[in-house]
Subunit: 352 residues, 2 copies
DNA sequence: GGAGATTTCGAATCCGATTTTAAACGACAT
DNA sequence: ATGTCGTTTAAAATCGGATTCGAAATCTCC
């Protein structure tokens, strides 16, 4: 009995066998060449006689050999993985961007490593360090609060693509939305509908895009000859709840307004809810415009008019830019211009 | 000129220097011990005299040494990374789960590797193969459509935690929500509000939980002595649009109903929109209950009554279970019971 | 003080590739 | 036949640590 058991144990030396256990050395000896030859064939490096190449290819297929990325990473310095620093893995805006990145990178044989910085520059730096220690071949940084200097510095060790800012540096490529123009568009849309008292719920002032959006709003107002009324600008932090609070504050201030432009959709949703609670109808009593065109904007009540930014394109473009950087090319990707998506949350102001 | 260039190249042998370039061998020689000693101190393996340990610790700190996870993975077989197979990186339900996983794993020094299977068993299997080839130490599989057999098989090579099903196997731990009970709860809630004609929008029949939810609905109906009316069950696929279609079909069928229970929140949002378009008010004309309690349920109009499932707890528990598995312990984690979160989309049916 | 038992370390091996170095081979000219 | 220049290809070094094994150092007890 005992002996039997032992024999049994010897039959399966490694309980975790089913996975790729075939090594380069095995295929090498299988077809009587050296491991370096197999390696070179695998990487397309150097020349090999067609006869051997074929034999090796056949052996690889026969044994079902897959090169071990870990060993490859150690020896070759390339891990075929790229680090992606996002702010929250479950962000409704960046989620689709991650998806775009995953897709684009996957097609090129790279694997993304997602980590979250939670809008905290120190944490972002930690994330980058972790990623770097894992020897990623490149880095995609979705916005965040890292300093330009820190970014430039990181770009010295590894190619970097960063979004949400405009920055020039060696080994660095930046991709930025035109927030200013987007906000102009949104404001202009309301203006063209006859609205003159347009409240603005601003984003988190710690984000540069919040300022740009505010400026776009002011610029459009100015272009239309509508005086800027500071009382109509409410502070927000890009989250739903701040949209609720902003509307409540606005309503309580008894300042007159016929439309609201929220600096992002999440706050617009909050605003819509606050209006609903106070018995105000969108768009009958108040027109509402958001920014970002989140997936949820389509199914909100009413469907939200918003400025489309296309996070998934952002992700794809960031990924292809990085891929270009990695293969030594100079990326030329540009983000599409923002555009209005008009749904049911805005309507023309009835004539006086 | 040529010579100058060459000299220049020799000055900066590695352009990507700033990142952790310190190796174990360097700290070893820095404090006059062998590299194996440093390694052993790092891993807590074996005993070392306090004097040396301290010296080494100091040297590590001084040089800012970080062990290279790639090399470590090769040598030790452990990569301190775990693969997470989700269905879509931007899923509103699984997003928070990923966040929970990231947090829990991060605390333990592990890095998650997220990949998406897109509800396709072949793709899921490919994801697992990629993950395995990257030598992850463990696997978390969020639901998905993989066969139990495939899962059991995977568990032979690496510890696995799977959600969304109940499955026993060596090296495998499963975590499942009680969908049946959740659906009972939701239905019971409507029943207790006086509703008798409750429509049910079912989930994608390819998911086992869709059946469980339907059964929960039927069970609650039966317990209350309300006859089951097949005409009130509408097919859905868990996406918003199917909620819209279901309500339109329901309305067109002229079947009487006072409440709708959607098998998930996304369909509930779609249903709410369809009702809104037809001029029906929630909850005044129709009460509406969802399932999952997505983050968006709080800010929808009206805020949606739903069955709370807690995806972030799911993620955390999956992660701690896996961590237990990895350290040889037997996980005992259990998911919390589903519970109703009553908001504003349901109301008592006025007496006849 | 010394034999035997421990504890503490260092050198050698290995993980699974990549890359460099150099030897073997072949064709062609001398 | 010998020598030379170019290809192929094999052997060896490397990447950065983990692990095993055995030797040296320290300790125990008689």
């Amino acid at each position: 009995m005992k002996i039997n058991k032992k024999a049994n144990a010897e039959v399966k030396p490694d309980p975790r066998a089913p996975a790729t256990k075939v090594t380069l050395a095995m295929v090498a000896s299988a077809c009587g060449v050296s491991s370096s030859t197999v390696s070179r064939i695998l990487n397309g490096t150097a020349v090999v006689s067609p006869k051997k190449r074929e034999a090796v290819d056949r052996a690889i297929a026969a044994l079902g050999f897959t090169p071990n990325p870990v060993a490859r990473g150690l020896a070759g310095g390339r891990t075929l993985s790229v680090g992606v620093v996002t702010q929250a893995i479950d962000s409704p805006f960046y989620g689709p961007a991650l998806r775009g990145i995953e897709e684009e990178l996957g097609n090129a044989g790279y694997s993304p490593l997602f980590v979250s910085g939670h809008w905290n520059s120190e944490e972002e730096q930690r994330c980058i360090d972790v990623l770097l220690s894992r020897r990623v071949d490149g880095l995609i940084i979705l916005t965040g609060r890292l300093s330009d200097t820190a970014l430039r510095n990181t770009a010295k060790s590894v190619p970097v693509v960063v979004t949400g800012r405009r920055l020039e540096a060696p080994g660095l490529y930046s991709l930025d939305f035109n927030n200013f123009q987007g906000a102009q568009l949104a404001t202009h849309h309301l203006l063209s509908l006859g609205h003159r008292s347009i409240a603005f719920i601003s984003g988190d002032p710690a984000h540069p895009d919040a300022h740009e959006r505010l400026n776009g709003y002011r610029s459009a107002l100015k272009a239309a000859g509508v005086p800027f009324n500071p009382a109509l600008v409410l502070p927000g932090d890009y989250r739903e709840h701040s949209g609720i609070e902003a509307v409540e504050r606005l309503l309580d201030s008894r300042e007159r307004f016929t439309a609201i432009f929220a600096a992002n959709d999440q706050m617009a949703f909050g605003a819509a809810l606050a209006l609903y609670r106070r018995g105000l109808r969108v768009p009958d009593d108040v027109s509402l415009v958001g920014f970002d065109d989140l997936a949820a904007a389509v199914h909100s009540i009413p469907p939200l008019t918003s400025v489309h930014q296309g996070p998934s394109e952002l992700g794809q473009l960031a990924a292809t830019s990085l891929l270009n950087l990695l293969s030594g090319r100079v990326p030329t990707e540009r983000l599409p211009e923002p555009r209005m998506v008009i749904r049911s949350s805005t309507r023309a102001l009835p004539g006086p």
